[in-house]
Amino acid sequence: MIKSTITRTLDSDFLWSFRRSKLAMGSFVVVFLLLAGALFSPFIATHNPYDMTTLNLMNGFSAPMEPNAFTGDQFWLGSDGQGRDIFSTILYGLRLSLFVGFMAVAFALVLGVSMGLIAGYVGGWIGATIMRIADVQLTFPAILVAMLIFGIAKGITPVDMREEMAIWVLILAIGLSDWVQFARVVRGATLVEKNKEYVQAARLIGRHPAFIMIRHILPNVLGPVMVIATISLALAIIAEATLSYLGVGAPVTQPSLGTLIRIGQGFLFSGEWWILLFPALTLLALALSVNLLGDWLRDALNPRLR
């Protein structure tokens, strides 16, 4: 059983098209390395940059690969004003960026798929209202919607809770700005599935509508959802970085890649280029490879588009 699954996977079109595309393999390696770096950052990083006891102010502004003038300590990618190792801050920032990205897409997926199922299966005025809201939201750019939601949510949370809530508010904002794509696709697929015999049979034996939606229709509409999820992940990572860069995202106490770039820009003109450049290059690699991987996945899973 397991053996046949493995051979089937190895034989599949999917893997074949993956092995044929050098670009896809290259981006996969980059994404994999970045994911591993983020996941195991506490073990890879030289120290926890946000644990004050591991910092030495004398190490501030060390250039990459050069021993510090006072302490003689060496940093691969240099250090920032407080003596934090840039390599470690990048790993921790990456961890946060990816966490927010995955959580936001998961939230958008759950919300969008349920809304799409309800709009497609139940229909009526409930479905019409859901799709009308989706249409209106779609006329505005997602980043603007996310900023507004962030602003409103920030206004509602009490002042002393803002710092610790910021990450969850960010996930909420990005997720809410991104559910429409899922809802539209799932609704379309549900409208098709709804009239098929297996659904009518399930209805005939008196299954609850919620049961039919989740157990019967959902598995049959999941294909396109996975493609949208990958592309959404790239968009969510970019949205998170942009919001954090604008200063309306991750707080300075828990910086993501976007926050690091925002901080680094301040040191650009005093000659400490490494504080900006290395986080920027990491984000560049991440955005580019996730995007390329998403494009490839869309082509590979959607033979009609080829």
Partner: protein, 327 residues
């Protein structure tokens, strides 16, 4: 046609009313604005006086009515952060954003069309392929990252262009323009490229695919057979027929340029409306947020309405009554 237009306009008004309600709800229920305005030293008498001045003691319905009434006349109240009328601040900031958006839009259209035609004509050439790959990278990178990297290259390393602000501006009436001074023009270069890059690649790819389609048509082949010069065929015969979809997309992108100006303005500290909005969110300055929300919604709803009505006027297939209901 008439019924459709009416239905579409009513829909737009409903959307604006809903957005207005969101804006008002933000205005009314988010935190206590007084906390954001006064220090701890203020006496309760002062605070009560301020509360009365800002109309925060009125009943809900009165406040909602006042809000709508004032918003319709361009009065969005007083900024919590700057203690000045929001409308004045918006008016003062508008020229910067409009100039930036206009220049980037123009750049995007001109360069986008030229590169699109070029990559379509030399579709297998090395230069054209390089442009296509670079454009793919341009599309997948976040705007602010492009801006930051441009600053690093052109302001820090090469020291050619300024990295922030508008340079010197000249006041003409109520409009402050950066077009008339050298420093103003120099300051415009990097922000305009950053803001216009995405739209430029979009237009370029669109023109390219449309051109490739058109160049296959019989009338182009006939023009070649007549021995017309290549230049004439490409620009007179082919390009003209690609422009309709390009114009539609450009129209729809107009709103996005103004919305994405938020990011570009923050990168370059460009003193426009977008930077104002970002600062408003950071300081939870609700009147400014509400005003920006209303302004941008009117803009987007109008653009969408115009584009939809134009489609309807241009495409006879949509005039079928059943189709109109679906839209």
């Amino acid at each position: 046609m008439f019924a459709y237009a009416i239905r579409r306009i009513i829909q737009s008004i409903v959307v604006l009313l809903v957005v207005g309600l969101v804006a008002f709800a933000m205005f009314r229920f988010m935190g206590d604005p007084i906390d954001n305005m006064v220090g701890q030293e203020r006496s309760t008498v002062d605070i009560e006086r301020l509360r009365g001045e800002l109309g925060l003691n009125d009943p809900f319905v009165v406040q909602y009515f006042n809000f709508l009434n004032n918003a319709a006349r361009g009065n969005f109240g007083i900024s919590y952060q700057q203690s000045r009328p929001v409308f004045d601040i918006l008016l003062e900031r508008a020229p910067a954003t409009l100039e930036l958006a206009g220049v980037s839009g123009l750049l995007a259209i001109l360069i986008g069309i030229v590169l699109g035609v070029f990559t379509a004509i030399r579709r297998d050439g090395l230069a054209a392929n390089t442009i296509m790959v670079v454009s793919l990278i341009g599309v997948s990178l976040p705007t602010f990252l492009i801006g930051v990297l441009l600053i690093y290259l052109f302001s820090v390393e090469l020291d050619l262009l300024p990295s922030f602000g508008r340079g010197e501006v000249v006041k003409i009436g109520g409009w402050s323009t950066g077009f008339l001074t050298v420093s103003g023009l120099k300051a415009l270069v990097l922000p305009a490229i950053t803001l216009g890059l995405y739209q430029m690649t979009l237009i370029m790819r669109l023109v390219r695919s449309e051109m490739l389609e058109v160049l296959r048509q019989d009338y182009v082949r006939f023009a070649r057979a007549r021995g017309l010069p290549e230049k004439l065929i490409y620009f007179r015969h082919a390009l003209k027929n690609t422009l309709i979809p390009v114009l539609t997309v450009t129209g729809l992108q107009l709103g996005s340029i103004i919305a994405f100006a938020i990011v570009t303005e923050t990168v370059f500290q460009w003193p426009g409306i977008g930077l104002l909005f970002v600062n408003a969110i950071q300081f939870v300055d609700i009147p400014v947020m509400a005003a920006y929300l209303m302004m941008i919604s009117v803009l987007f709803v109008c653009i969408n309405l115009v584009v939809d009505l134009l489609y309807f006027a241009v495409d006879p297939r949509l005039r079928d009554d059943n189709a109109a209901v679906k839209i």
